[in-house]
């Protein structure tokens, strides 16, 4: 308990105090006080619009993630089993990793309908992480196990279920914290820029148009909270799965 107080609670109280003091020197439009932001959080959380917006944002993030997982796993496997695909895909992955998300957003604005844009952005920003984790996971499949499956002439389906998928599962599950945070953040960002009809990004955009800084900060705090909550929930769900694969 003492450790929790020292390591978690005290820094938070210190930060809130600093914020409170700083807000006294600025206009509320520039830097509202933590109390004002907390008040806004309560108002937002009482409204039904927030929950439907949150659900839409999370669904978009999930949609992008499913696309990225499907394509990422497929490409990762193709790269592992084909030198040609690996040689072809490496520069593509490096490009995907180094391309600023804003470039994708601008292109997506030209290519797609606004509601699809967040899904696309989540997919392109997470796919390199998934491909690399799958690829690395497959590389780590021990030669000893490969010899075992070669000797007993096990078919690809059995190898996939018994050897390859469990091997990459540990890699993907260990990267999920980065992936979840990235999915939610990029989904909200894309919603703001693409001006979609519904979503947390839409609500933040409205707050920004109304120059309601307290509301923008309130949504920011809520995004951090829900990202953290999703991570904790997945940690709880995956803890059993991770133990299975260790």
């Amino acid at each position: 308990m003492k450790r929790f107080l020292l390591s978690k609670l005290l820094p938070l109280i210190g930060f809130l105090l600093l914020w409170q003091i700083s807000s006294l020197f600025f206009n509320q439009l520039i830097l509202p006080s933590p109390l004002a932001v907390f008040g806004k959080i309560l108002v937002i959380m009482k409204s039904l619009t927030f929950y439907s917006a949150l659900l839409v944002t999370l669904l978009r993030a999930l949609g992008g993630l499913i696309i990225a997982l499907s394509l990422g796993i497929f490409i990762g496997f193709a790269m592992h089993f084909s030198k040609a695909v690996s040689a072809l895909m490496h520069p593509v992955i490096i490009t995907l990793q180094s391309l600023p998300i804003i470039s994708w957003l601008l292109l997506a604005l030209i290519w797609f309908d606004s509601s699809v844009i967040p899904v696309f952005i989540v997919a392109v920003s997470t796919i390199p992480i998934i491909i690399l984790n799958v690829y690395e996971g497959l590389k780590e499949v021990s030669g000893e196990y490969l010899e075992l499956v070669t000797f007993y002439k096990l078919d690809f389906r059995r190898c996939l279920q018994g050897l390859y998928l469990p091997s990459i599962a540990t890699y993907i599950i260990s990267a999920y914290k980065i992936i979840i945070g990235l999915c939610i953040k990029t989904s909200v960002m894309a919603e703001v820029i693409a001006r979609v009809k519904q979503g947390i990004g839409t609500e933040m955009n409205l707050a920004w148009i109304n120059i309601d800084t307290a509301e923008v900060l309130a949504y920011t705090v809520l995004i951090v909270f829900f990202t953290f909550a999703t991570e904790r929930l997945l940690t709880f769900i995956f803890s059993g799965t991770l133990r299975n694969y260790q």
Binding site: E144, E147, L148, F151, Y152, P166, N244
Partner: protein
């Protein structure tokens, strides 16, 4: 049973087996020799794990199973699933799994994951997997090298009972004379690298621990040492 004709195997400029002719018969055959004498190389060629050789290996389309030097148990699977993993789908017979694991004293551990087991228990599981697979011959590559003497003797005793019950053929690679004498019907001793010739010893010894204290065991041990040491001097 396994006929090896004119077999040559090299790793780059280093020839390990040279024009080797060998016949491995029924029962338990032990390939004995010092480390690096080409025993494991020969076993891997027989197992089909290395196809890069000259000559001929005729195993008469025998079904083989293998016990590697390492356990090679998938950490995310229980022992039961590790065993089932290698079995042909139509050959998963729980009764047989229970019977063999009972003989090797690991039946109670079948639903445990490898990380919960001791080294000896994992070894027993790897051996059980080799025996449960429906093969005509079990290949074993130094399967007891990581075990202490006491555990080794206990597992060997269990294997001997299993071999007797199952009427299975065994090809064992080892550098340990005690292991060889406790298991073998025939010992093939490799002389030097590259292996071109070898010594074959036919044995008819009682396969139990008491034999270790007998004069017959000492005599066979002396003969093998004599052979190996004279080879070194030459």
């Amino acid at each position: 049973m396994i006929r090896i004709s004119n077999l040559t195997k090299s790793f780059g400029a280093h020839t390990v087996l040279k024009s080797l002719n060998l016949h491995i018969g029924f029962g338990t055959t032990v390939l004995l020799g010092p480390s690096g004498s080409g025993k494991t190389t020969l076993l891997r060629l027989i197992a089909g794990l290395d196809k890069n050789y000259q000559g001929e290996i005729d195993s008469e389309k025998m079904r083989m199973s293998i016990v590697f030097q390492e356990d090679r148990l998938l950490p995310w699977k229980t022992l039961r699933h590790n065993i089932e993993f290698i079995l042909p789908r139509d050959k998963v017979n729980q009764e047989r799994i229970n019977h063999i694991t009972e003989s090797l004293k690991i039946q109670a551990l079948l639903d445990s994951k490898p990380f919960k087991l001791s080294g000896g228990q994992k070894r027993r599981c790897a051996i059980a997997r080799g025996f449960i697979y429906p093969s005509d011959i079990v290949l074993m590559d130094e399967p007891f090298s990581s075990l202490d003497l006491y555990l080794k003797l206990k597992i060997i005793a269990d294997i001997n009972i299993l071999l007797e019950k199952e009427k299975r053929n065994l090809l064992l690679v080892t550098h340990d004379i005690t292991e060889a004498l406790l298991l073998a019907d025939e010992i093939i001793i490799f002389k030097q690298t590259p292996v071109t010739e070898f010594q074959t010893l036919k044995l008819d010894l009682p396969k139990n621990e008491r034999m270790l204290q007998s004069s017959v065991f000492t005599e066979w041990e002396r003969r093998i040492y004599e052979y190996l040491l004279s080879d070194k001097e030459s």
